[in-house]
């Protein structure tokens, strides 16, 4: 089968849905001739024109507001927020408007909108251009969240997002844009709420999301040499969340390590850890471990690599969890 980069896969999903859904429009900045801040939109402006691929003024809050408005009046919209750090600027439209509108209007109004935003972690861009803030949005009822870790999942999940009647936060990761995986030519979609077991194992369950997935897989390889069989699971969507697959893996291994780039405190790992303990407490033969981004505003430069998990820290933590530390 042909393989695509994650960025190509996302581009293809958008292109296909733009072709099949005449009411689908793209809003944002630098999404036109420029092709998107990280090039994900290449060719879309040329194929679909400026009415549907709309570069606009630099005002994220109103841009998301316009996207919501168009979505409740017969269109489907996709907004790009150039860095996930900028969700702060559009927070009200995402949280108090898009996510709640269907509910507080008694189901009368749907908001078929996808907000695409890249995590720009591990690139040294500094405090305001490097954050992984997905945890906040798990705390927002009414908002779906997809956070793919490879090209295949990205295309399948984006297809689902682009056919959903609800607002979806689609979290990409710039570090993964250039990674390749096999992507079928034929149309497919991946339902939300289904975690993916990327590697089977029996000793330890490693839950990884977004940029930490490849790191976890590499660590699992190294751990195999140390006779530790690791199961690597990627939840793929944070809302809805597939607790069953994770709990199943925990029941098998009895040990869980959760890893993500986002800040440790009140991060995604806190919810997953607590939730797993609620589901399968009696199967746990050690406390659930978190290996995450540190609780410090991200630094610029290479130094910030020291604040996020890497293969070594995952291996070391796993060995400790196995009592072989």
């Amino acid at each position: 089968m042909r393989s695509l980069t994650m960025s190509q896969a996302i581009n293809e999903a958008l292109r296909e849905e733009m072709r099949s859904q005449p009411t689908l429009i793209l809003l944002g900045q630098d999404i036109g001739p420029y092709g998107g801040t990280f090039g994900v939109y290449r060719g879309l402006f040329e194929e679909f024109g400026e009415d549907r691929v709309r570069d606009g003024p630099l005002c994220e809050s109103a841009t998301v507001g316009f996207a919501i408005g168009a979505a409740i009046n017969g269109m489907r919209t996709v907004v790009e927020l150039e860095f996930m750090d900028f969700v702060t600027v559009a927070m009200d439209q995402i949280v108090n408007q898009a996510a709640k509108m269907h509910y507080f209007f008694g189901g009368q109004i749907n908001v078929p909108m996808v907000i695409r935003t890249p995590i720009v972690s591990r690139m040294g861009m500094g405090s305001q251009h490097s954050q992984s803030l997905e945890a906040w949005f798990m705390h927002v009822p009414g908002l779906k969240i997809a956070i793919p870790s490879n090209a295949y999942d990205a295309k399948g999940l984006l297809k689902t997002a682009l056919r959903d009647s609800n607002p979806v936060l689609f979290v990409e990761n710039v570090r993964l844009y250039s990674t390749k995986s096999e992507v079928p030519e034929t149309d497919y979609s991946i339902p939300f709420g289904q975690a993916r077991v990327l590697r089977e194992g029996s000793d330890l369950t490693m839950v990884a999301i977004s940029g930490t997935v490849p790191v976890a897989l590499a660590a699992a390889d190294q751990l195999a040499q140390k006779e530790v069989s690791v199961e690597v699971v990627d939840p793929r969507t944070l809302n809805p969340f597939d607790i069953e697959t994770l709990a199943g893996s925990l029941r098998k291994t009895g040990k869980v390590l959760i890893t993500h780039d986002g800040y440790r405190t009140a991060g995604v790992g806190a919810e997953i850890g607590q939730r797993l303990a609620e589901e399968a407490f009696n199967y746990l033969d050690a406390p659930i471990l978190r290996v995450t981004g540190q609780d410090v505003p991200v630094t610029s430069g290479d130094l910030h690599l020291a604040m996020v998990p890497n293969c070594d820290t995952l291996v070391k933590a796993s060995m400790e969890l196995m009592g072989k530390g």
């Binding site: 316009f66 168009a70 209007f105 008694g106 009368q108 109004i109």
Partner: protein
């Protein structure tokens, strides 16, 4: 950029029967709000309720200039707009009282009304947040060539929020069929407009964006009607948005809940002169309306609201099960 200061007490082109209909709507809004305040006082409305008193002429003058398929968005002070756009007072009052027969199944409440069938795409409780949303609604109408115009109501306080300006810019740039109607009642809760901005006129905000603007007396229902009519046709012709500033006087306290005092004798004075209802009534008499016709309308309005309250009070509250319904659309 075209600027017009409209004041239309000259002989109107609209025929008397229609004007009487407006009069009835204004009376209905006033009675609706008076009932809501009373019901809140009796502890029958939880949360709060924000009366549209002093905004009746804006709501009726503006909505009467629209076609049924046109769209409106408004604020937590939106009961009047919904009535003026033709929504059923029963369903509105039921929603204000949190009953399952309310337009939002009793889960939205006074600040979150919606009636898609009547083109009401919702009232919003985050100040100014609905303004860019209205811009997007208008953008969709433009892209889909529906010929619809979108009307967005908001206050003087909202006109200080960044999203209002962002929308002025985007709407003017994209020439969307949008009419922005600012109800300048001189207060944002307790903050008077002179503590909110250095200049007197909110309409002037449009200048820097190349947007057309109009300033007028918001208690002159005909002036509002004419301005919105012209802005609506301007929008339908594809010429883009207009910002209309309707000046009024907030006389009631901000909301039935508000901690603050509402004894503002100076405002009360001005309000006596400004009150759009006696004023419109006098105009109608001048136009040859019979006293009996007017009293008939007054009775009808009272009846409509009375019925709405009865209906709402007779309706059950939403079930606990409904709490978890409609979180996501299917």
């Amino acid at each position: 950029m075209q600027t017009a200061d409209t004041n239309a007490t000259s002989r109107p082109t609209v025929e008397l029967g229609v004007l009487l209909q407006w009069f009835e709507q204004m009376l209905t809004i006033r009675a609706f709000e008076e009932s809501a305040i009373e019901l809140f006082g009796k502890g029958m409305i939880s949360g709060s309720t924000h009366p549209a008193i002093a905004a009746e002429a804006v709501a009726v003058g503006a909505c009467s200039a629209l076609r049924p398929e046109d769209l409106v968005l408004a604020t937590y002070r939106g009961h009047g707009v919904c009535i003026a756009k033709g929504s059923d007072p029963k369903a509105l009052m039921a929603e204000v009282l949190g009953r399952v027969t309310g337009c939002c199944k009793g889960k939205g409440g006074s600040m979150h009304l919606c009636d898609v069938g009547r083109g009401i795409l919702g009232t919003n409780a985050i100040v100014a947040a609905h303004i860019p949303i209205a811009g997007g609604v208008a953008l969709a109408s433009k892209l889909r060539h529906t010929g619809q115009v979108t009307l967005c109501f908001f206050g003087d306080g909202a006109s200080c929020e960044g999203e209002f300006f962002e929308t002025l810019n985007m709407a003017a740039l994209w020439k969307v069929p949008l009419v922005l109607v600012c109800e300048n009642n001189e207060y944002a809760i307790s903050v008077p407009i002179n503590k909110s901005q250095a200049t007197p006129d909110i309409a002037d905000r449009a200048l820097g964006f190349g947007m057309r603007n109009i300033k007028l007396d918001g208690n002159d229902v005909l002036a509002v009607h004419e301005a919105v009519s012209s802005a609506a046709s301007y929008a339908r012709e594809g010429k883009g948005p207009t910002l209309i500033e309707c000046k009024t006087v907030r006389w009631e306290r901000h909301s039935a809940f508000s901690a603050g005092r509402n004894d503002n004798p100076e405002a009360a004075q001005r309000w006596r002169r400004a009150d759009p209802i006696p004023r419109f009534r006098a105009l109608l008499i001048g136009l040859g309306a019979e006293e009996s016709q007017l009293q008939g309308r007054e009775q009808r309005a009272a009846g409509i609201v009375h019925e709405a309250v009865e209906f709402a009070l007779a309706s059950p509250r939403p079930s606990e099960a409904s709490l978890s319904e409609d979180v996501f659309a299917q």
